[in-house]
Point group: C2
Chain length 210, copies 2
Amino acid sequence: MPPTQVPDMVVARLPLYLRTLEYLQRQGVELISSAQLAELAGVSPAQIRKDLSHFGRFGKQGTGYDVLHLRRELIRILGLDRQWPMALVGLGALGQAIMHYGGFKERGFHIAAVFDSDPDKIGKQIGDLVVMPPERIPHELPKRQIQIGIVAVPPEAAQSVANLLVRSGVRAILNYAPITLSAPPEVHVEQIDPVVHLQHMVYYLRHCPQ
Amino acid sequence: MPPTQVPDMVVARLPLYLRTLEYLQRQGVELISSAQLAELAGVSPAQIRKDLSHFGRFGKQGTGYDVLHLRRELIRILGLDRQWPMALVGLGALGQAIMHYGGFKERGFHIAAVFDSDPDKIGKQIGDLVVMPPERIPHELPKRQIQIGIVAVPPEAAQSVANLLVRSGVRAILNYAPITLSAPPEVHVEQIDPVVHLQHMVYYLRHCPQ
């Protein structure tokens, strides 16, 4: 099946499987049954088999999945066998936390440019990067072949920052602001929304009182 | 169907529908077809109808869903018709961003206690709250009837903080640290993992080059 015809909900689960395989590899696990992998990833064994079947045959009847092999295949399928540079816009408390987030680099991503409109921050050195004003976005992003933007500005500024990123060639936006961003259909937008996770868990607290 | 027998993947999508309905309500939309609601929420119309059918009948043939009514029903189903107090552990850049996050209160949650092990932070006033040392967790959480913990400490401290929260009565943990936490089966853990969202979007960048 051509990769663009795989249902998006299947694609959305692949990173969860990959994260689970990375965890297993760190634990020294070499082989895992689809039942165990499914339980750790929070899906049913049938789901994981069906999801992976879109991309080929990975498990062996009776022995399960080879953790290292399946991890490598998922990295290839997701396009993570290279580093993806990202632009971060917004260097408040949240932006600074994102700058120092330890989970990006080994999983395929790094921040290659950082922007803030605060004159006190512009020109400051953070690691290898110098903070630039947002006006530089249309120039800097194409120059650095950046196609991914992270929006970490206050909600009232988020849409105009997203528009600027899209005009500057960004095709994927990770939005930390608590608002729903509009973008052209060819631009992918995902929102980091802690409340969605809280609401999901609270369902069980409410319905299974102790 | 008893609510605990609804598949977890269905429960996980309810907050996304709720967020979409909140957006529609702010836009002044009163009625919406399942096709439109599905597109905005990023699922198929069949999926949304099937998901909601676990909880009753909400749409009307030909007119679609009443946005306000469906929103109220989802709030009731998810258990958000009350405020849920939370404990935040960790007041680095990330913890401070979480403290100031604007999306909690109107969606059912508030931070009711905050902890950090840094002597320079303990005793400081942040809004209505005074920063307490982690040793106070077992005393303060039951006293404030807190069942939800947010882990915003460095990865090497995250598991021991999670253990302490669980011993203190927490039944749901939102983990911002880039590690997979272990917890007893009756405790719900969700991880804020920006890389999972990035990897999901990158699949399309890789497979649909411009």
